[in-house]
């Protein structure tokens, strides 16, 4: 067609997107649409179907050899306090209860802190773990088992200090709604490796959705096939996958055979390839009805595996159960598994959100399973090309929040520094990246911005974050907006 203005590979030509996506919902081809676009490009160029060396083409995907094939992102929604888990600050303990220095308050906006807050030393003690100088508090005893597998980043920072915008920022690169999430970008770029399962699965625990709602796994302006598929703990794992109560699998098979036969008759009349595609999608759905319950059925898991994750009842929704589910999904070729665990917003307004009661509960529910997931992936040889990320959306203040004079200990939202860890897929084993100041208020060494983290994750998948773009409303959009630098030192 004579539209040279759509030079960009992934332009807004809907008929094209449509024809691609319907065939690639679950990545029937080994590679995603990037590869397809590239292949068709080669065809148009009259070139052989082998990718040329180097970067002659900016838009062939992946852009370079990937280290990661899949990712599980563990999100502690609400954001855990780094000072009480992984970034010990003896100075805070010394200054505990004293008004914080004025310099910390200048030009600051807090979500809830009012007046002049007081320093809050961690009530928990720390001990060294692993061989790289990491420390972990008594709240996360199992972390010691994986300390030498992970890179701990103590120098994360973000631009946002409220949950919804910060979560959107982390997953879509923008604090406002409407952009595609990281998982959608990955699926868009790389497709999926399983024909019968969604390529991007979301698992929730803690009883609530994340603050920003489904937008953090939405596809934004990318076609909806790239959005995350929520795998639910109760009812159908994937919405509407269960047949009506009286319809058996045989009955459904028979229905689909007739349906396909009728659709083919119609296709013979009309010749629209979309009809054939629809037949395929119904067949895919039929396979998915087996694949989804299969992968989500934990009853075949041996007792010792359940014990490793700390699962006592496989039917009960929990974070630990989601970790094990994540492993099974990753094992089955799901590209991106996103975990959200609600309940980490420890402001200290009551025992349900404080550091003495709620935080230990949350840690108890997640520490063992997070470590188990890394170890389980390792023993199955999956950790080599599976990226594991553990993070909140921002950090928490070194000061006690004391909202309305509350006597419960808690910390307010804090965008200037927080700690996350990553493992697998070529990430350095046993390495601490970055440092915060004495009070744990700001980063003093090797800062890593949210956009840098995104660029680094895409890099692990062999994608150049500046080149993975999509044209929308006249602009080329990317996950990292116009920012982001790959942190190469995180890789071994």
């Amino acid at each position: 067609m004579s539209h040279p203005q759509h030079d960009n590979t992934f332009g807004p030509d809907l008929s094209r997107v449509r024809s691609i996506t319907r065939r690639h919902f679950f990545g029937q081809m080994k590679n995603g649409i990037g590869m397809l676009a590239f292949a068709s490009l080669l065809r148009e160029q009259g070139l052989a179907a082998t990718p040329p060396q180097g970067t002659l083409f900016t838009d062939h995907l992946p852009h370079f050899a990937p280290r990661a094939k899949r990712i599980v992102y563990i999100h502690l929604a609400g954001s855990p306090p780094q000072q009480d888990l992984f970034d010990p600050k003896p100075r805070l303990t010394e200054l505990n209860g004293q008004p914080c220095p004025d310099s910390l308050l200048e030009k600051e906006r807090f979500a809830f802190i009012k007046g002049h807050p007081k320093i809050l030393g961690s009530p928990y003690s720390f001990s060294p773990v692993g061989s790289a100088g990491m420390q972990a508090s008594t709240l996360v005893p199992n972390f010691a088992k994986i300390a030498d597998e992970v890179t701990m980043i103590r120098s994360m920072y973000t631009d946002q200090f409220n949950h919804a915008p910060a979560e959107l920022f982390l997953y879509t690169g923008s604090a406002r709604l409407g952009r595609p999430s990281m998982g959608s970008w990955l699926l868009y770029g790389l497709g999926s490796e399983n024909q019968d399962l969604p390529g991007f699965v979301v698992l929730l625990s803690g009883g609530k959705n994340p603050s920003s709602g489904k937008s953090v796994w939405g596809s934004g302006f990318l076609p909806s096939v790239y959005s995350g598929c929520q795998c639910r703990s109760t009812g159908d794992a994937v919405l509407y996958t269960a047949n009506p109560p009286d319809v058996s699998r045989e009955a459904r098979r028979s229905q689909l055979d007739s349906l396909a036969s009728l659709n083919r008759m119609h296709h013979a009349e009309h010749g629209d390839p979309e009809t054939l595609s629809r037949i395929d999608q119904y067949e895919l759905a039929f396979r998915m009805q087996i694949a989804v319950p299969g992968v989500t059925d934990l009853s075949a898991e041996p007792r010792h595996t359940l014990d490793m994750y700390g699962i006592d009842n496989i039917a009960k929704p929990s974070f630990a159960r989601n970790c094990l589910l994540a492993r099974r999904l990753l094992e089955s070729g799901v590209r991106y598994v996103q975990l959200f665990d609600h309940g980490w917003d420890v402001h200290g307004t009551n025992p349900g959100d404080d550091i003495m009661t709620q935080l230990p509960l949350k840690c108890r529910d997640t520490d063992q399973a997070s470590a188990a997931l890394v170890l389980d992936l390792k023993q199955r040889g999956l950790l080599e090309d599976t990226l594991v990320v553990w993070s909140g959306e921002f950090g928490r203040t070194p000061m006690n929040e004391e909202r309305d004079g509350s006597k419960y200990l808690g910390r307010d939202h804090h965008p200037h520094c927080f700690t996350i860890w990553m493992a697998g897929a070529g990430i350095r084993r046993g390495y601490v990246h970055g440092e915060t100041d004495d009070l744990g208020y700001r980063v003093v060494k090797d800062p890593v911005h949210i956009h840098d983290l995104q660029a680094t994750i895409l890099h692990a998948f062999g994608l150049n974050h500046e080149q993975l773009t999509y044209r929308f409303q006249g602009r080329d959009f990317r996950l990292t907006d116009v920012h982001g630098k790959v942190v190469h030192s995180l890789f071994a």
């Binding site: 909806s224 007739s258 409303q473």
Partner: protein
């Protein structure tokens, strides 16, 4: 050549499927690839735009080397003296541009690798060379030149065209040596036009009537019947509501409900009454600014109140007010102008001639409405309860006038220190004034304290209530359900010692006694966990689990009504001994009560509250505690290092009005009036439907608009005045000061874009894709029109011939010969024109989610015809709504409300109905011009397994059974209800086979019938407009 990459790959992938993943080239070259004469706009500008404009385009800030290539003047002049001009018209060899794009030297080569690592292809270089040789003719972008009526092309086939538009289609087909498809069958055409005009398939009766009608205008009469159907407005509203980003919630984190469905109803009615699109536009953008606006015109302005509101704690209202204004600018320009304005928020557009100042000119037009991201969605308009809106406006005026009078009085008052209170065992907490600086909540919102005097209440028309038992005034609480009035954040806290007591006088309204009353205190140590109550134990449920403890203690029965009763609570029973309180709440379950003389017998030394005695002391006090009770504006002033005189005056006024008890008393009569009017206003609002609407700020409150550096509201730069973008004002000049001017300019004949954009949007709804495929982008980065003359012809038709009547325009479209073609796609035609850009057939497109559900409901006889009203809740699986900070639950509607048309389904932005989103419905957070049509297995699950569709299959089976006969004939009835045609012999055989197969698998006759009906509802044809 790269251009070919936009070729639709449908065929390619069909082949790919057959060849197990191996891609094969299409056999026939698509038509659009054939080269024609060079057109600057279509062929040259995109090359320059994509490769050069980023550094040499309209954005002054980004321009390199002083060179611009987006204008002919720039491209043909020397950027600096002595340097060669990029383009020497007629002479490619002398053109620096040609030398640089062909250069192998990395320092010279253009575009640089970071813009285009491959460099320009040989084809493009040759194209540029030929164009320069032809004299480098420039041209304005096609969409920015005025619409003129194109001359009708001559065509060989004079029989086929029915409407002028058909000649344009025919001319193009003849140029490609193609002919149009045969006409669709009567049945196909009837179903097609029903779906297009009313979004529902024809009923068996409508089908029979049409098939029996052999008169020559039978079809035209069907069209007229459909256009007159009330279903028409419901169908077309869906389209508009995507653009208007209509939803039933506010968006963002909390995503609370909002009442804005009257706007949805207005849209449906406006389509049904065929309000001309120019009036339709002006009503929505500026109905409130019209001369004596009608209620409908006010309701229409809710169009731009569909912006999101952020109720999350700790968010800056100004930030999200600005976000809403930005959304209004972007949406307006996208909907009516087809321009992607968003880029210019931060910097001048890189490709289109839109400057950042142009952006803020439009921002200024929208920047003077009263709304400011408030949780109560003000300003609102009350609908429904008689003349509620008029009375509310009256009360608003009373409140406004009283506030102004207080401002004046206070400004004239001298500061006057109250006499120091003698130490007393009984400390007055609230009597005729509040205890110093506090924050007051009434019915869950920050409001003035509800003071009550018989005089003020009488003046407002409320029951007078009792005289105060102490001082000159008491306070009144009341309302529906469990409600509370409280103050908190008192500083310093009131210390209570051993043996302390808390007392208040209450007057239970004999005309309306509450079921129970409750006092609560907030202590520094323990938050609001000190409660004492009287009356029914189940009346107020708070802290039910702590019954009998200090957290919730029943003191006695409800006090006698109609007299003042003194209530006294020993501090010990509510665990307040040795505690310090900072707030006190007065709660009740229904009814009405008056309160007076809240006191504390403290039995403990108190920190003095000296700050109330002088402005300076109060300011110091507030500074020390971060001004926690002050409104944001005052808080900012207080913290400002260098407050202005106006800011100081505002602080002083606040102190005199609310903090100092002596001066407070001077304005108490007016405060009492404000309290009474506020109560009356809330009462009226509760009984009415309050809809957020647009209202302009009065002159002295108008905001100054400044350009924001990099689009950040925290970085205001120079002032900008309202106006339209410069490049459009050259073609279509207008003085635009406000929204009304803007709306009129948009709909003016001289505006080059509106008629094209709207005609294209309607065309897309009917023909599946736009003549300009990027319906949202008519700028230089948008798609080139597939048939420019056709689009201009349609624009003229819509604007001039139909006088902006959508119905008349649709009638033209659906009675055309182009529309009546068959949608069959013979292999040859499919290969030649896979995207159906030439319209040698009718396009086959999948229905949208709403139409799929509505059609299934209609065919199975379940669809309710009930129109309008609050949104409804059809079946949705458990657990889909799970929101933080929001316990709102999806409670399934009962009766026919479960089967209403989908346009009435409740739309939560963070969680729209899953059956709709699976079929590509947007979130409605922002304006969406085009829904993508995907084809996924999750869609199969919806139409096969969603209980709504299962119910449809069951009901359809019921209809089939009623028809009687054997399985074949019953299934034929079901088939026909869905598809408006008889099954072929072959199809009917297959349906019967399917039925028998299900019987063999053990299904009863009825169950087998249901399962085959489900097959019918899932046919590709059922999900498609043929």
């Amino acid at each position: 050549m790269f251009t070919a990459r936009t070729q639709p790959l449908a065929i390619v992938f069909a082949c790919a499927a057959a060849a197990a993943g191996i891609l094969r080239p299409a056999v026939v070259q698509p038509i659009d690839k054939r080269s024609e004469t060079i057109d600057f706009g279509r062929d040259i500008r995109p090359i320059l735009a994509n490769n050069c404009f980023k550094c040499h385009g309209p954005d002054d800030a980004a321009r390199q080397a002083g060179l611009r290539l987006d204008t002919r003047e720039g491209a043909t002049a020397a950027p600096k003296p002595g340097q060669p001009a990029p383009i020497t018209p007629g002479d490619p060899d002398a053109s620096e541009l040609m030398r640089r794009i062909a250069s192998e030297d990395p320092d010279e080569k253009m575009p640089p690798p970071e813009v285009n690592p491959r460099g320009l292809s040989q084809d493009k270089i040759e194209l540029l060379g030929r164009w320069i040789k032809q004299g480098a003719p420039w041209g304005e972008h096609w969409a920015f030149v005025p619409v003129t009526r194109p001359s009708e092309p001559s065509v060989k086939d004079r029989v086929w065209p029915k409407a002028p538009m058909d000649r344009f289609v025919m001319a193009r087909l003849e140029a490609e040596s193609l002919s149009p498809s045969i006409g669709a069958s009567k049945e196909t055409l009837l179903r097609r036009v029903s779906l297009d005009l009313i979004g529902l398939p024809p009923t068996p009766e409508e089908r029979a009537a049409f098939l029996a009608d052999e008169s020559p205008d039978a079809y035209e009469r069907v069209v007229d019947r459909l256009l007159a159907s009330p279903r028409y407005g419901e169908k077309w509203a869906r389209w508009w509501l995507d653009l208007a980003r209509y939803a039933d919630t506010k968006g963002y984190e909390k995503d609370d409900r909002r009442t804005i469905w009257p706007y949805r109803d207005w849209v449906i009615k406006a389509f049904n009454t065929d309000e001309p699109l120019n009036e339709f536009t002006i009503d929505q953008l500026a109905g409130d600014l019209r001369d004596r606006p009608t209620t409908d015109q006010i309701v229409a302005t809710a169009f731009h109140r569909n912006t999101m509101t952020n109720d999350e704690g700790g968010t800056d209202d100004e930030e999200f007010r600005v976000a809403a204004v930005i959304d209004r600018v972007n949406t307006t320009m996208e909907v009516w102008q087809g321009l992607t304005f968003g880029c210019a928020q931060c910097h001048s557009h890189k490709y289109d001639p839109i400057t950042q100042t142009d952006y803020y000119r439009l921002f200024a037009v929208f920047n003077n409405t009263q709304d400011s991201d408030k949780a109560d969605e003000s300003p609102t308009f009350a609908l429904g309860a008689g003349d509620a809106q008029r009375r509310i406006e009256e009360l608003d005026r009373i409140i406004n006038d009283a506030n102004k009078a207080i401002d004046r009085e206070v400004a004239a008052l001298a500061e006057e220190a109250p006499p120091s209170e003698p130490p007393s065992e009984e400390i007055s907490v609230v009597d005729d004034h509040l205890p110093g600086a506090v924050e007051v909540y009434v019915d869950d919102a920050v409001r003035p304290w509800p003071w009550s005097t018989p005089l003020a209440r009488k003046e407002i028309g409320l029951p007078e209530g009792p005289k105060a038992v102490s001082g000159t005034r008491c306070w009144h609480t009341g309302g529906e359900g469990v409600a509370q009035t409280f103050f908190h954040k008192l500083g310093p806290a009131l210390a209570i010692g051993v043996g302390g007591e808390l007392s208040v006088s209450v007057y239970i309204d004999p005309a309306s006694p509450p079921k129970g009353i409750m006092l609560q205190w907030i202590s520094v140590e323990d938050t609001w966990s000190h409660r004492a109550y009287w009356g029914d134990a189940s009346a107020i449920p708070w802290a039910k689990e702590d019954e009998g403890s200090a957290k919730r203690r029943r003191i006695g029965d409800l006090p006698a009504a109609g007299e003042w009763v003194r209530l006294t609570v020993p501090a010990s029973v509510v665990n307040l001994e040795n505690h310090s309180i900072t707030g006190w709440a007065f709660a009740q379950a229904g009814g009405s009560a008056y309160w007076d003389a809240a006191t504390v017998r403290a039995n403990a030394p108190q920190k003095p509250r000296d700050y109330i005695r002088s402005l300076a002391a109060w300011i110091e006090f507030e500074k020390a505690r971060d001004a926690v009770t002050l409104p944001p504006q005052l808080r900012a002033s207080l913290k400002s290092k260098d407050p202005t005189d106006a800011e100081l005056a505002a602080l002083r006024a606040y102190y005199l009005r609310y903090v100092n008890p002596v001066t407070t008393a001077r304005v108490s009569a007016k405060e009492n009036l404000i309290a009474a009017a506020g109560e009356q206003r809330r009462k009226l609002a509760r009984n009415a439907t309050e809809l957020p609407v647009m209202r302009e700020l009065v002159d002295d409150k108008k905001r100054t608009t400044r350009r924001f550096n990099r689009g950040s509201f925290l970085a205001p730069a120079e002032e900008v005045h309202p106006g339209i973008p410069g490049f459009l004002s050259r073609v279509s000049p207008a003085q635009v000061e406000n929204r009304l001017d803007l709306a009129r300019w948009l709909m003016a004949d001289s505006n080059p874009l509106t008629a094209r954009v709207l005609a294209n949007r309607v065309w897309e709804q009917v023909f599946g894709s736009g003549i300009v495929e990027t319906v949202e982008d008519f700028g230089t980065q948008g798609a080139w029109p597939t048939n420019r003359e056709l689009l201009d012809q349609l624009a003229i038709t819509l604007r001039d011939e139909c006088g902006w009547s959508l119905k008349a325009f649709l009638r033209t479209l659906v009675t055309s010969a182009t529309y009546r073609q068959s949608s069959a796609a013979p292999a040859q035609l499919l290969a030649l024109d896979p995207g159906n850009r030439l319209l040698a057939r009718f396009p086959r497109v999948r229905l949208d989610g709403e139409m799929i559900r509505d059609s299934a409901l209609a065919a199975s006889g379940l669809l309710s015809g009930k129109m309008f009203g609050p949104s409804v809740f059809p079946h949705q699986p458990e657990g889909v709504w799970q929101m933080i900070y929001n316990d709102d639950a999806w409670r399934q509607s009962e009766g026919e409300d479960a089967h209403r048309r989908s346009v009435y389904t409740f739309w939560r932005r963070t969680s729209p109905h899953p059956a709709m989103t699976t079929f590509d419905a947007p979130s409605r957070e922002f304006c969406v011009s085009r829904r993508i049509r995907t084809n996924t297995p999750l869609q199969a699950f919806v139409t096969l397994n969603d209980p709504q569709f299962v119910e449809c299959a069951e009901s359809l089976a019921g209809k089939a059974e009623q028809a009687g006969g054997n399985a074949g004939s019953r299934l034929a009835v079901a088939f026909q209800r869905v598809l408006c045609r008889e099954p072929t012999r072959q199809e009917q055989d297959e349906l019967v086979r399917a039925f028998e197969a299900q019987r063999r698998l053990g299904a009863s006759d009825r169950a087998a019938l249901v399962r085959v009906c489900s097959i019918i509802l899932n046919l590709d044809e059922s999900l498609t407009k043929e």
